[in-house]
Symmetry: C2
Subunit: 289 residues, 2 copies
Amino acid sequence: MTNIELIEKALYGYIFSNDTLEKNLINSMEYSLKAGGKRIRPQLVLEFARLCGCEDKVALPFACAIEMIHTYSLIHDDLPCMDDDDMRRGKPSNHIVFGEDVALLAGDALQSLAFDVMTREDTVNIAGAQVASKCVNILAAYCGALGMVGGQVIDLEHENTQTPIEVITEMHRKKTGALIKAACEIGCVCGRADNEKIFAARKYGEAIGLAFQVVDDILDVTATKEQLGKPIGSDLENNKSTYVSLLGIERCREIVAEQTQIAVDSLSVFANDATALKDIALKLKNREK
Amino acid sequence: MTNIELIEKALYGYIFSNDTLEKNLINSMEYSLKAGGKRIRPQLVLEFARLCGCEDKVALPFACAIEMIHTYSLIHDDLPCMDDDDMRRGKPSNHIVFGEDVALLAGDALQSLAFDVMTREDTVNIAGAQVASKCVNILAAYCGALGMVGGQVIDLEHENTQTPIEVITEMHRKKTGALIKAACEIGCVCGRADNEKIFAARKYGEAIGLAFQVVDDILDVTATKEQLGKPIGSDLENNKSTYVSLLGIERCREIVAEQTQIAVDSLSVFANDATALKDIALKLKNREK
């Protein structure tokens, strides 16, 4: 089984039977969980866990939890009162299919489900309560007001305005970076890694998180609509400051290369071979969608 | 200090300094956390914990967490795509003050904050990782798709329609009941109670949860706008089936009395004196707002 197959098998296993009064809600959660995506965050959990000598069965619930948080954030992000996007990954957005009310609640329930699966008896029996509660704390802190959600607020308050690069960086660091960093750190915690390794994982996460976002900004200018599965040029159209509009494409490509190198270098503290994580960093750098 | 003072002191202590780029978000979270309310759920946590011989300092973070979940659910409930309520507790709703986008995100961040505070180092050092992860699991499960959020979906899918009493009961059991039950159970888990006590606490929670909602339905017909701090007669206006519309006020008053008695009786398994919890049940029965 590939990593993605392993993750999706575990992820879909958490979807409830839908023969209930809430079936519409559960279908809505399932729709977005199954909408694909690169499954980057859960792969980071798995790979860092493996690097720290941890079995997949320990790390998988935490890998799934982080993908649930990511999925909830996309559903809420697409809502009319937020980015008002009708399409996501080449398919109609959740609220287009299920209505705004159900989409809002599906996002809410996916957040709860993330914390649920991290602390189920099965999970805690395998991972231990210390590891489970530590992972809950990392994810909760990084996805909250001073992490992912905070980044979204910074983003929406600087829409349609010229924004200094420092604010853009802080916004990216939180909006996209926080959850990627959480994934790296959680993988290490699953493997009961020491602080030096956790520090290195954070550094890796921060670097690929920034690179990821700068690549997004570049693709918004250079990719086709078919490649992205969503409208292109939207940043430009919204007069939104981005890395590209502020620094130009060439400097942006340099930043992506620099950050990717920082990420790869940070892996040197791990005794084991970190090829998989080097590959993820390089693949994110070179992606075309 | 009264229970409410104790709870609010702890609760407000979790609000971040707001000298940040996210200050609008944090003000929005603070606005709703400080909007008052009866603080029923955190009081239930504290009182059940005390009944099981647990110190307040162990139970308080969990009491605060449940109030954060309750607060997030109210913010999202009031949004235009949900109940579209402009007023809450006699004040403008969160989205009226901060806008829909920030209100949505404040709700999201309050949910994260709940799971954050339950698993912080301070909390885990005092309560133990087993208790912390168990409380996370109870709260996550009861507030999610098969609990509170599920109840909200059942509610909105039966708006403006005639609905059988069984569906109304299931909706209440989840929408309001689940979180009240979670509070009771979490208090017992903080006090490392045995299964007999946890079972009794659940029974108490279920009974006062149903009584609470039936009282709400009664007050929607009998109270004044000033008493409730929100429009009255809204169920009737929306042609919504309620306990009152289906069973009549007299039968509803009987149900409230019966459920209150079940709650009081369930407390008999606790060796200690459960006066405070009896009082809460009676106060909820007799409330006028």
